[in-house]
């Protein structure tokens, strides 16, 4: 890349130069391999869509995709059901308690991926606490090695991605609006539904999209906790690249997932500032509201 001499720089503003290292890195580790995958998936110059056609005809891929989508949806719903009340409480407690709650939700971030997943194996395996618990009721439930177990673990791992955008959105809502609504004749629940909920929607959409898209591509947890018989799309991708060395097929599958994700994000973005809401995530932990 041709870096201009700052002393003779006549462009709009030299501060844009600060972006160059990051953009160069992104180009090298993201765009380049992505382009390569795309190139391989369409026949490496022989131009064919066979690899894409195979995705829809091999009888496996579509089933795995559907299973992945359902799993991701369930994980997203669980994370939302747990995350919204949690984030709400975070906006209602004092600064000290808020810090504690934040730490609790961030623990998955600070724990190594492997440690976290092996912990789940211990919890979910045969003779583990969950199995023993269900046996008290005469049920023989082993979540380890099932999609259900994967779902439970993924919900925990992805919870911060739900809680942080929600907390950021909810803490920006002026609670006096709720007083105003009640004064104007709304039952507190109606005030929540007509005022609070619509104002929290940006954060809700951001959280849903983040968790859903991350779930779609989740690899380690399904690989460790799931079973090959019920694999998700990331496992299929891994299998095709590392075991079958089918780079063209894997590239086509990767592109399909990417397109689905992008379409989803673009669609969701119409429901109110998703991209900006995701952007606030980074700022949320340091934001101190009194």
């Amino acid at each position: 890349m041709n870096t201009p001499d700052p002393a003779r720089w006549r462009g709009p503003s030299p501060r844009w130069l600060l972006l160059v290292p990051a953009l160069a890195l992104l180009a090298a580790i993201l765009l380049l391999p992505l382009g390569q995958s795309l190139f391989r998936s369409v026949g490496q110059g022989d131009w064919t869509l066979d690899h894409y056609a195979r995705l829809f005809t091999d009888g496996v891929t579509l089933r795995v995709l559907a299973r992945t989508a359902v799993t991701a949806a369930v994980v997203t719903v669980i994370a939302f059901a747990l995350g919204y009340p949690y984030a709400y409480v975070m906006t209602r407690v004092g600064p000290r308690m808020r810090g504690v709650l934040l730490v609790i939700v961030l623990i998955p971030f600070w724990t190594s991926v492997m440690a976290r997943n092996f912990a789940w194996i211990v919890i979910l395996q045969r003779e583990g606490p969950v199995h023993s618990f269900f046996r008290l009721f005469g049920l023989d439930v082993v979540l380890y090695g099932s999609v259900a177990g994967v779902t439970v673990a993924m919900s925990q791992v992805l919870l911060p991605f739900m809680v942080l955008p929600l907390f950021s959105a909810l803490s920006g809502i002026d609670r006096r609006l709720l007083l105003a609504a009640r004064g104007l004749g709304s039952h507190p629940l109606v005030a929540f539904w007509k005022i609070y909920w619509p104002l929290s929607r940006g954060g809700v959409v951001a959280g849903l999209i983040l968790v859903f898209t991350l779930s779609l591509g989740f690899y380690v947890t399904p690989a460790l906790l799931g079973s090959p018989k019920e694999s998700l799309v990331a496992q299929l991708l891994g299998q095709r690249t590392t075991q079958l060395l089918d780079f063209a097929g894997a590239g086509a599958l990767g592109m399909l997932v990417l397109v689905v994700t992008l379409v989803l994000v673009a669609w969701a973005n119409r429901f109110g500032g998703t991209i900006s809401a995701i952007g606030v995530v980074a700022a949320a932990p340091v934001k101190d509201r009194t």
Partner: protein, 389 residues
């Protein structure tokens, strides 16, 4: 007066309203609601209660201002009337009916907040229509009332605008429209002009006066700004430390304060703290001043601390004692400074041996006075007031 400005939906016009919405929407329109506070107390468990036994009757259609410094309990009192806070003791009644345990959404009160509290995701028209929708009025009725009230606050044509696109003054007009559109029993205003600049404030003060006249409902206005309180109110309840210090018309509070707190909070005063015995004159330093019993507050307890207060416009400056008219009260003074106030000038005085601070408004003839001069300050006996200290 326009009692027909917001005609109440008659049962024939809106059967839904009469079935679901209690209060003035369904009953014939009243001129205003009487609000009676009896021994109202709010204790958060702190050193002293936020509101300590406040009793006050706000008459139908009255413009009552709750005035006081921050932390004096005026806003808490307003929130108790609104139902946003629960009473620790005492009771609140609207037109004789106890509402102490009624939740806010059933009290049918309009409320204006300092930060406007407009719903940012709703347009101007939707904001104003909100209380009408909550009362399930028929759509044509809602549309008619919204356009009427937007005309009243001079915001016609802004229906589809979102609050963020409006100036502060316009936002407060929308909030005002929303607060009165449903014919509330009373309008509660919580420092609604606090966030606006000086010019806009006085414009909106006039606006609020006009709307009070046109709507004719009871207004309860909270402010810490004594000038605003004087401009707007029929009566002022002055709060101090969770209690009402004095209630009365702006004139009464200014002319006949009962306590030193009142005298100091409303307008400037020159204050001489002194002991006061029954019927005798008031002795302060070397002076013994004549006292007219008519100017002694009933709250002055003989033998205890009292204060003699004089307003700056009643203090006169003389070159020496011989120039003081006989019968007037006088004290020696040094002019500290002369402040130019535009329409007039004020002499800042140090009075007596102790150099008590005082002020005198000067007229044009006294233009030769300057800082450092020793003079005599005097005032007419009937222009002073003896209050409880």
């Amino acid at each position: 007066m326009s009692a027909t400005k917001f005609p109440t939906a008659s049962p024939t016009a809106s059967p839904a309203a009469s079935a679901t919405a209690p209060g003035p929407v369904a009953v014939p329109r009243r001129a205003g609601t009487q609000i009676r506070l009896t021994g109202v107390t709010k204790d958060y468990g702190l050193a002293s209660p936020a509101v300590a036994g406040v009793s006050l009757t706000i008459e139908p259609g009255e413009f009552m201002t709750l005035l006081g410094p921050s932390g004096s309990g005026k806003t808490t009192t307003l929130n108790l009337i609104a139902g946003f806070e629960t009473l620790t003791a005492g009771s609140i009644a609207f037109n004789g009916a106890d509402v102490s345990r009624l939740p806010p959404h059933k009290r049918n009160l309009g409320m204006l907040f300092q930060n406007y509290a407009l719903f940012p995701h709703l347009t101007v028209a939707q904001n104003v229509a909100y209380p009408l929708r909550e009362r399930r009025l028929p759509k044509p009725e809602i549309a008619r009332r919204v356009s009427e009230v937007l005309e009243l606050v001079q915001l016609t044509g802004r229906d589809g605008t979102y609050p963020a696109q409006l100036s502060g003054g316009q936002q407060q007009r929308v909030a005002l429209a929303r607060a009165i559109v449903f014919d509330p029993s009373a309008l509660l205003l919580d420092e609604p002009l606090g966030a606006l600049d000086r010019n806009l404030r006085s414009t909106l003060q006039l606006e609020i006066r006009r709307i009070h006249r046109e709507v004719g409902s009871t207004f309860v206005f909270v402010t810490h700004d004594q000038e605003e309180a004087m401009n707007l109110s029929d009566r002022i309840a002055l709060f101090n430390d969770g209690r009402i210090e004095q209630v009365g018309t702006p004139e009464a509070l200014y002319q006949t304060p009962e306590t030193l707190f009142t005298a100091r909070f409303l307008g400037d005063s020159t204050v001489f703290e002194l002991p006061y015995g029954d019927g005798a004159g008031a002795a302060w330093e070397d002076e013994v001043w004549a006292v007219d019993p008519a100017t002694v507050s009933a709250r002055v307890v003989a033998g205890s601390r009292a204060a003699l207060v004089v307003r700056p416009e009643d203090v006169r400056i003389a070159a020496d004692r011989s120039a003081v008219p006989s019968g007037a009260n006088a004290v020696s003074a040094t002019i500290r400074d002369v402040e130019y106030m535009g329409a007039y000038r004020t002499a800042v005085l140090a009075l007596g041996r102790g150099g008590v601070a005082g002020r005198a408004r000067l007229d044009a003839l006294e233009s030769d006075l300057g800082a450092g001069q020793s003079v005599t300050a005097w005032w007419r006996v009937d222009r002073q007031r003896l209050v409880a200290a």
